[in-house]
Symmetry: C2
Subunit: 335 residues, 2 copies
């Protein structure tokens, strides 16, 4: 059993200073509106998810099962001032879920009340179980992995958009979350970057298990095979996912990789490396397109950038946020 | 600061049923005799490290700082019957170190006595600290990494033999341990397979840090880039070590990889992949030879196997156990 968050949620927006601070909560609303019962905002909160404003008691009365922290405090931590609200939620019968670095259990009051009421404090960065080492054995069902030229280029968004588009076409598809925000959105998953190194591929085998032949798991990628800090995670994830198909996510205006002095690989480099290394666990692996993050470009430049990528690689290229993922789905279901 | 075991050791051989069961202890005696004060054997022990037999009290009186468990119980666990001896050792002022899966702290009596006496229970499989993510930045000093076509092909032995041979030639060299047995031998190190996945390369940057330009760190490899269970670990280790040189360790009689159905890569495959992927953090990476584990072959076949490898790849090839590592050191220091 994976880490799992019980819906429906009362989304805690805290005293978010702007919409960006509450972007995790907004991601949940955007991708899983059916899981969101209401929002809880403190005095001074400048974010608004467009959900009914509820107190803890009101949320509990309407059946909220988990208070999900969808915002960050200053410095990315969980400020002490939020703790009384979390304690309240537990006393009203809710679990609390968080993707922040600060562990929920590090607040003695909160831990004590959760133990007393038998509620769970779910830190999604902490793997909820032990995993086996990867078997490398081919399993039924189909899997797509989003990979990147770098970190933070849109792998999670692309995977969620692919899940939605596949479902709209009647394909049985599931987003499989591998990072904290993805887990809060999906309600389950594995933070693969926190799994002990020996078990990366094994954890992904559990996350995206054997399935019906026509089922697609859309697995959220992490890092990049070309990122000197995280390539090991990316490779273990690739081998565990044993994807039939992958989409390369790319940000065309970046010169160097995120937080390190390494130069950016080309999309072609990433396709070649992913195919070469991915064949170890799936000899049929193929690239079905490129998701270009054009947020830094105007519309003309964005179109030109997509045309250049598509022309050079003879693959569909789109910006999932700006233009949707239909070209990627077309190629995926054609092949 | 890394995980560190304080010498000198009293080696605990327990009731080892044969020499193989006590091979970790023997490794310490073989490679670090200066750290070994004596051995402690229980009734029925069939292993003998050739050290003075000492009781806990005698070991303590002669200055032993750590009781090191150099053997495994049935099933690889730490049997309850050993615990009174470990408690004794702590009461006599020693730390206890273990590479077994069973955590020393899981025995309440032992944990309590260690806390009372302020002694350490060192489980070398558990990373002793947090690590930063890898920077990917090139650092001074030279590093050699042993890599493998598979797991369990002689990477640790080869690295230890290279350290010894380099020191004998007057080269300032240090073995850097990445697995539990290596850590018990070296007295310090990081079990990289237990580090959270995001920090593999960062942990190795700490393990094999910046050094004088003519200093060699000989880093113990783990897994194989071609092993579907562990390739992520191997890649993170490669990127963190940023080796100037590597030696490929190989077992020529194996058909499939250890514990998985994957076929064995060739030595040439491993050289190519290691160079291609290793260039990300060290563009000057080069292969300096092949360590062939010929234990399954007779002398004629062993010689033929080495000649075949050397001829095909135009690289020195040797079996470190049978014929030593001098050809590898020659090539390393030539280049």
């Amino acid at each position: 059993m994976l880490l799992r968050i019980e819906p429906p949620y009362l989304l805690f927006a805290g005293d978010a200073k702007d919409a960006l601070a509450a972007k995790t909560g907004q991601g949940i609303v955007d991708w899983r509106p059916d899981r969101c019962l209401g929002q809880l905002r403190l005095a001074g909160c400048r974010a608004d998810h467009g959900l009914p404003d509820l107190t803890v008691a009101e949320g509990a009365a309407r059946g909220a099962k988990t208070l999900v922290i969808g915002t960050v405090g200053p410095g990315g931590v969980l400020p002490e001032t939020w703790v009384p609200v979390l304690v309240d939620a537990v006393e009203c019968g809710m679990d609390v879920a968080s993707g922040l670095h600060t562990r929920l259990g590090s607040f003695p009051d909160l831990r004590a009340v959760a133990e007393r009421h038998g509620r769970r404090l779910v830190d999604v960065r902490v793997p909820a179980r032990d995993f086996p080492t990867g078997s490398g054995r081919r399993r039924p069902g189909k899997r797509l992995l989003t990979v990147g030229t770098d970190c933070a280029v849109g792998k999670k968004y692309t995977a969620l958009a692919l899940e939605r588009a596949l479902r709209e076409r009647g394909v049985d598809a599931d987003f499989r979350a591998t990072g904290q925000t993805g887990i809060l959105i999906a309600g389950e998953g594995v933070a693969v970057d926190a799994v002990p190194a020996d078990f990366i591929s094994g954890a992904v085998e559990v996350l995206a298990p054997a399935a019906a032949d026509d089922h697609w798991d859309v697995v959220e990628g992490q890092g990049s095979l070309f990122h000197p800090s995280f390539a090991g995670v990316s490779l273990g994830l690739l081998h565990g996912a044993q994807p039939d198909a992958f989409v390369v996510c790319h940000e065309p205006t970046r010169d160097t990789m995120r937080n390190v002095p390494a130069s950016m690989p080309s999309v072609r480099d990433v396709i070649e490396a992913t195919c070469r290394l991915g064949r170890l666990t799936n000899p049929d692996i193929r690239c079905v397109g490129v998701a270009v993050n054009t947020v830094a470009l105007g519309d003309d430049d964005a179109r030109r950038s997509l045309d250049a990528v598509a022309g050079e690689l003879a693959l569909p290229a789109t910006d999932p946020v700006r233009y949707g993922v239909e070209p990627l789905v077309d190629r995926l279901l054609d092949g």
